[in-house]
Amino acid sequence: MDYIDYYKILGLSKNATEKEIKNAYRKLARKYHPDLNPNDKEAERKFKEVNEANEVLSDAENRKKYDQYGKDWKHAEQFEKAKQQHRQQRSYQGSGQPFGEGADYSDFFESMFGGAGRSRQGGQGIRFRGQDYHAELHLDLNEVYVTHKRTLTVNGNNIRITIPAGVTNGQEIKIRGHGGPGINGGPNGDLYIKFIINNHTTFKRDKQDLYTTVDLDLYTALLGGDVTIDTFDGKVKIKVKPETQNNTKVKLKGKGFPVYKKEGVYGDLYVTYNIKLPTSLTEKEKELFAELAKLR
């Protein structure tokens, strides 16, 4: 647990006036407010820091305590005394500043001010819905090929969710009421789960379509024939037309990825042929190829 320089966070000197603190706080709060920085974890972190700094510095008593004991909080006897004094002030309600929704406090803050240092109630008594939680769920591509259920632990609560087949990378789902608790009696926030799909397969995916490359030997490409290829759910045999050119792309209808929330509907699989020329030719082969060349 490190000492936190609240003045530095607000970009102020130690002798800043109340007005300067208020102005610095408002400016930074506008910059980092989570509503204005969606999906920006860094802004969220900074907003919490700014909130915490304001909690301490905007309140004369907290500020005095911080200035006096802050740096030596780990070992100062005075700090212990301050804590005792603090316990006697349980009725303290904080500065009443309106940014009541800032979430966690640092360990440093908790140690120094405990629960009663908080003023998250909000100065205007507005009933706010709780904070929305954002979580990421990392899944492998083959895990989202079929719809399945999964139990997640969010803030100590187990939530069983259905992960529909075909979810895409970066897609977010909302689970109502599983976010932070409401403020001043407001409803709970929601939980947003963002899916991060890792692909370790040989297939490339674009929404419901899959792409793969298959090596083809020269003779099959020239004369045609059957090849067995891997699809996402098994092997299939496909016919190769005679005189198939390198990089020819064929579409296997319905052999792609499941379409999100459309049961039984699948995208397509696009197969690109990569024709491999024979190497280490024997003398006989060279002769025959030379003969073929003459025919052209």
């Binding site: 407010h33 205007q124 008594g125 009933r127 674009d206 792409y211």
Partner: protein, 96 residues
């Protein structure tokens, strides 16, 4: 029984402790659609999230109605760009 998908403005204002004039202003600035049934006015539940956000921006950051309109438009653009960016990143992987 059909699910109730609206909340009366008066209930909303009591619950969220905001003046009715705030909701009226949102409507005047075309920031919120109000459903009228008889004498009563309602907010659609699907709009709640947006209204809550506007309450926070207005009361916490002192953003006025014009500002809320600008913020809403810009946030929508951010959202669209984020979606497009993600989609392009995914497509780019096809060529990696």
């Amino acid at each position: 029984m059909e699910e109730q998908n609206i909340i009366s403005v008066s209930t909303f204002c009591t619950q969220y402790n905001v003046p009715v004039t705030f909701i009226q202003s949102l409507r005047e600035y075309d920031l919120l659609e109000i459903v009228r049934e008889g004498e009563e006015e309602y907010i659609q539940v699907t709009h709640l999230h947006r209204v809550e956000k506007m309450i926070r921006l207005h009361y916490e950051l002192n953003i006025n109605m014009e500002g809320l309109d600008v913020v809403n438009n810009l946030l929508q653009q951010v959202w669209d760009l984020q979606q497009e960016n993600q989609s392009l990143k995914d497509r780019l992987k096809l060529f990696e």
